[in-house]
Amino acid sequence: MAQNNEDMLTVRVWRGADEGEFQSFRVPSRENQTVLDVVTEIQRRQDPGLSYRFACRVGVCGSCAMTVNGRARWTCRTHIRSLSGGPITIEPLANMPRIRDLACDMTGFFDKWGKAGNDFTSARSRQDTPAQVDPLSPQRKQADAAIECINCGVCHASCDVVKWNDEYLGPAALNRAWSLVNDERHTEKKTTLEAALGPGGCSNCHSQGNCMAACPVGLSPTRSIAGLKKMSLLAMIGIE
């Protein structure tokens, strides 16, 4: 493939940790190319020392999430031609400490996931028959609307309140809490709800909707959090 200047992309990649700088690379522009393809090409052909995460590379695992031109996205699902022209800027996901280059530390994200009361607890054991859950019950529909989350962290990285308030559990954790309080099998609904309504919980959300705009799976934590807010009134007057 002809590789004159017009067929090259300029890519600025974050190097280092929280302290660091952007390094520029030039990569051939190809007809079908995702941001993950570009990162992979840099690491394989230009700088083997570049650190980044990926797994499935086909848009189902969420591992390749990074900040591309200022927005958190799955890089395997971001076609180069979908970006506005000019240099492409790639950094790790925001609101999380940077470990190295394009990898961020998601420990805090998973901690908050736990702190939102998201341990599923069932009254049944493997000896019991499976629970019969009507998929059309209103409760199950609510849970199903939120259930597809794969913890990719994109919403967490996109949330302004997460950035401004380090106590805030974040959209992913609260979205999961919502799906659990609507799960008829979950025996610790009260615990989950208490966690979701606490100081780091749903009352911090200002419904800006960055999370739902960014979610690659099309979920709406804004909606789930609104559901939790409604439940807070019931919780206050003593109904669970």
């Binding site: 200022g70 996109s158 302004d160 401004w164 200002h206 909707g209 960055n210 705009a213 709406s220 804004t222």
Partner: protein, 117 residues
């Protein structure tokens, strides 16, 4: 203000949030002055009139216009938040309320100007 290179800029939801918060902040700052001026009625009509005459200045009238616009905007964007949180979810962020709110706020401001002139 706040460096935001990593959140979607200028989504409707963010604009609504920013306008709502900033208008609320301006009103909150104004409020103590409002209460103190009204409290001058304790010292009699003449004293209150002194201050009210001072407010006839164009710059003060402009500030009053601003407060009327911001109060209307804060009200409408606040109703939007109440709907987002308490009304049935509609699958979107009711962004029609944002432009509607701005228009109504400016119209109310126009009503103020007409009254003042």
């Amino acid at each position: 203000m706040i460096r935001r290179t990593d959140t979607p800029r200028q989504t409707a939801g963010y604009i609504a949030f920013a306008l709502h918060r900033l208008s609320g902040l301006a009103l909150a700052v104004f409020l103590p002055f409002h209460f103190l001026v009204l409290g001058l009625a304790i010292e009699g009509e003449a004293r209150l009139n002194e201050v009210l005459t001072w407010t006839e200045q164009p710059l003060v009238k402009f500030a009053e216009w601003g407060l009327v616009v911001l109060l209307t905007l804060h009200l409408i964007l606040g109703v939007r938040v109440l709907l987002l949180e308490w009304a049935p979810w509609q699958g979107h962020l009711r962004s029609g309320w944002i432009s509607g709110g701005i228009i109504l706020a400016l119209l109310t401001g126009a009503g103020f100007i007409l009254g003042v002139m």
